[in-house]
Symmetry: C2
Subunit: 568 residues, 2 copies
């Protein structure tokens, strides 16, 4: 007989830590550094604080050969974490604050906990977290993970007086700095390039100090949470939006009746049914949805508060215009007919059947105006006033499919994104590569599966570029991606270009920098090292590269002509 | 204030389905095929049934252009799934039967549920599962997933009479056969190569039928579950083994006393303390551990059953040789001294402090004999008789570290593995490539992180090989890996070889087939497409390739000499 088991998500990632980038001591040391540094930068970004990140890696015993235990500490000047959330944030997998639709480096609720898990299973030491949210008191936690149950075990919790806000996390883990060192230094350097407003210091195990002071003193505008873009939104997301906008019929008990009295300003008077309806009409604009529904029900029952407290609503059959209730006085079920012409019937229809398709589209998605909503309804073959709560499963699938195929939605609102910008990218690439030729491009915002994204890229040629053959620097949400380029969408696009068409064949001294920003980067691995080839992203990258490659080709032609002229 | 949330594992994989290989319609169709075919093969393998797998992909509307909905059905003649497990197996993520230490294609408890999830969010249609475990009755389920709660929703459950065992699963999903078709056909073909005892048929959307009958009629020996190999076992695994081998002091209530009486054959007699001890000594070998512990406690309390039922054990302080109990008669706490020379003291020590280090090693790991255990204890600097339950955290970390560094463990027991074998691999490669040169090699079993693995490879050159440049066919646990070769450990090793040293530079007509079998393949992605560069695996691959490349070099030299002779 087969024995079945359910495992917790921390148990899953413990068994399969290669999925999260913890496959060997060298890679694990690198990934742990990344996870903590990215958390510090995210925290500062979200609160508009110019980040100061301090990274320290020290060997426990400098004399031993690699791989061996290291103490890794990352300290930031961010907002810290509230005391009640610290153990869960670091001790539970799939727990975090970055699940909303907003650009951030983190997205899984996994990274910090994985680094701590790896430290614990290789050295059996707890993590030390120090957090101050008010700049006066620091909470110090020593935690272990209960990997099977996915919860933290608090070994120690003390406090201390401090003078600054921020968070520091320190783990002991088995690493290999001899192999990971150059990748870690590259990571820190490339991070400072794409985050010119952050200051980063790195004390390495050999006693070397690397320092990357800020290059600019202005923060990018912090991204804001936005509604999804309609393009590519799948059925599950639509279904949840509908459930969100639908509404339960409230229970009409004494508490509810009291609330309705109070909101109508009728606290102690027991007005007649007609008087109540008059008052409700006057105050309609100020009434909450719950109260409006109760008024609507009362309008069909034709009862005042006294009578209302003696019945209980049993069933509301809106399509058949019947309202069933239990009369406590007569101990029997009764029903009333509802007049479909009444405005109160419309109120109940909205409540149980959801809003119209066009209202749903304009309220739930970003940048869908009334005329676009109507145009879309026609395209999809729905009546614009169709109630979203009455859609069959078939109709929902068709709605999602039409959202993918409709061409006329406005491009996404990019206030949820924080790209670097063409000028800073150009400035950074000029400073870094000192090339003979440089072009940069930021494409306008696009979307995949409802997620807005922006592609920005640069191509540099010649000058002080020392590498031969195309070298690609990949970034996603301001994170440098240094591993697994072989299965990344950017490399796929770069390799599919016929570079000889642009006069750059052979092994040209060519550098390509690519940055993808999105409310959700479609990583292929939980270690965030390579991006999946979503068709919309692939297309944007291709268009960007082709545009810039044509400019390169013009430059190469001119240069070729100049050299030919010289020879003559 | 930051808002924190916990998400379920199905919610995690819904949001991040790129991690599981569901990034676009073409890739998703491929991955869904894989997940179901691999489940069918695993099920047949585990029960020694020669597999018959039937794969059908039909477009819902043949006229529409890709991407569009397809119905994907996979049917097998395996053991089926018990009725009570069907909804959870397919409707819950991280639920499965393959978490034990045994070679299998599946390992995450994720694949089938992900394919069903992808179908549901793209077409809103439920999955239909038909399962018969007895060859008489078939259970038919229609399921939807509650993605936020990670549980199934049973829409329909009916039964039907049948005449064969097996399982069939059918989903409707948005796919792109125009892009995925050739990859799917490659997958089926390559699967039949590595699984010559399986018969696979494939009916494609264009009406084409592909059939791969079995080439041999003998099943490989089904792999068995084994104990972990000591090499590379981490602290968390050791800790769990210790907890497993440690034992709670049983509660001594009337039920327990009755059990002890019964096992001693003293059911109704109330013997004296001395008589009970005599009887226990005689029957010691047949007594269970629980009963032995109770006898040991009684030996120190010097009580018969009558007196024993009037006390309750409060605490057992083995190192300080004290036993504390509550006397109901006197309503007071009392204690007795335990004689450390008594054999019963030893029994209690084993129970609370675990066994000795050497006993632990020989019982918990595979292939560690008593002399190896003692040698290891010396190497690690522990007394061989040290009680495993008394190790400090520091000592546990040191134990794990020593398990990684000790060279003298025997290689792993490979009965948990099911490699193809050199002869079948050679036969398959000859048939497939008809090369001028062919060499195959199966390395002996090795281990990483406690998991045994075997590498088997083959190199073929010339003859009817039509590709130019090194073409690598990668397999892991009899699964063909067709994507993401750029970040796979096999490609990393192949690319680090200087092929010109072996006279195979330029674009030689060279094919390399690689198969890694393990109780746990360290995949980099939950889509199981590429293998992480664990150092032990990388080393085995490198040694295998170098060994075979030298043979290739001899062949190339001879051929070079033969051609030179011809010219002269
Ligand atoms: N330095 C920090 N300052 C403030 N909050 C932090 C810091 N580090 C972690 N956190 C909080 O802890 C949570 C969990 O962090 P963790 O790295 O595990 O997940 P994440 O960053 O949300 O996602 P990902 O797994 O993609 O990194 C974060 O969501 C964040 O709220
Ligand atoms: N065709 C089948 N016949 C018998 N049992 C099956 C079949 N398909 C699935 N199962 C059972 O359902 C469980 C869940 O399958 P699922 O594919 O989700 O996970 P898995 O195969 O265990 O791991 P993985 O995610 O790596 O594929 C399996 O562990 C197996 O017990
Ligand atoms: Mg993080
Ligand atoms: Mg499976």
């Amino acid at each position: 007989k087969e024995k079945f088991n359910q495992i917790s998500p921390s148990e899953f990632f413990y068994r399969n830590r290669d999925l999260a980038g913890f496959s060997n001591p060298s890679r694990s040391l690198y990934t742990a550094v990344r996870e903590f540094v990215e958390n510090g930068l995210d925290a500062c970004d979200s609160k508009g604080i110019l980040p100061d990140i301090h990274l320290t890696i020290k060997a426990v015993d400098q004399e031993k050969p690699d791989p061996k235990p290291y103490i890794l500490t990352v300290k930031d000047n961010g907002p810290g974490i509230e005391t009640k959330h610290v153990p869960l944030a670091f001790g539970t997998v799939l727990y975090g604050s970055k699940f909303g639709l907003k650009q951030a480096r983190g997205m899984f609720g996994l990274g910090a906990t994985m680094a701590i898990l790896y430290g614990q299973i290789t050295t059996n030491k707890p993590v030390t977290v120090k957090s101050s949210t008010d700049g006066k008191t620091m909470e110090i936690f020593e935690l272990l993970l209960d990997i099977q149950k996915n919860k933290p075990v608090i070994l120690k919790h003390t406090t201390k007086d401090v003078s600054k806000k921020g968070l520091s996390v320190s783990i002991c883990l088995e690493g290999d700095y001899s192999k990971a060192g150059s990748k870690i230094r590259d990571y820190v350097y490339q991070t400072s390039l794409i985050t010119p407003y952050a200051s980063i210091t790195f004390d390495d195990p050999k006693g070397e100090k690397y320092s990357y002071p800020r290059m600019i003193n202005t923060m990018p505008k912090p991204p804001t949470i936005i509604r999804p873009h309609p393009y590519g939104t799948d059925v599950e997301t639509i279904r949840r939006m509908i459930v969100d906008s639908q509404f339960e019929i409230p229970t009409i008990d004494d508490i509810m009746i009291e609330k309705v009295r109070k909101d109508l300003g009728l606290s102690k008077k027991n007005l007649s049914f007609t008087a109540i309806m008059e008052k409700a009409k006057k105050k309609w604009k100020t009434l909450s949805r719950q109260v409006r529904v109760v008024i609507a029900l009362m309008s069909f029952l034709k009862m005042d508060f006294e009578k209302l407290s003696k019945i209980r609503i049993e069933d509301l059959d809106v399509p058949n215009k019947k309202l069933f209730y239990w009369d406590f006085g007569d101990s029997t079920s009764k029903s009333v007919e509802m007049d479909p012409e009444s405005q109160y019937y419309k109120q109940l229809t909205n409540t149980t059947q959801g809003e119209t398709l066009t209202a749903f589209l304009t309220k739930k998605f970003q940048r869908v105006g009334p005329s676009t909503a109507i145009k879309f309804a026609e395209f999809a073959g729905f009546k614009p006033e169709k109630r979203i709560g009455t859609m069959t499963n078939q109709e929902l699938a068709h709605l999602s499919d039409s959202l993918q195929k409709f061409d006329d939605f406005m491009g996404p609102d990019s206030s949820c994104l924080a790209p670097l910008g063409e000028a800073p990218l150009e400035k950074g690439m000029t400073k870094f590569f000192k090339p003979d030729f440089l072009t940069v491009l930021q494409r306008s915002a696009s979307a995949y599966s409802g997620f807005p994204f922006i592609v920005e890229m640069g191509i540099a040629y010649g000058g002080e570029i020392s590498t031969r053959g195309i070298k690609v620097y990949r970034y996603a949400n301001r994170i440098p991606l240094l591993y697994d380029e072989g299965s990344d969408v950017v490399m796929k696009v770069v390799n599919e270009i016929d570079w000889s068409r642009y006069k750059a064949k052979g092994d040209p001294p060519l550098v390509i920098v690519s940055h993808i920003c999105s409310t959700r980067i479609p990583y292929k691995t939980a270690g965030k090292e390579n991006v999946a080839d979503r068709p919309e992203i692939e297309r944007e990258l291709k268009l960007a590269i082709q545009f810039m490659a044509r400019k390169l080709s013009v430059f190469m032609n001119k240069r070729g002509q100049a050299e030919a002229a010289k020879k003559r």
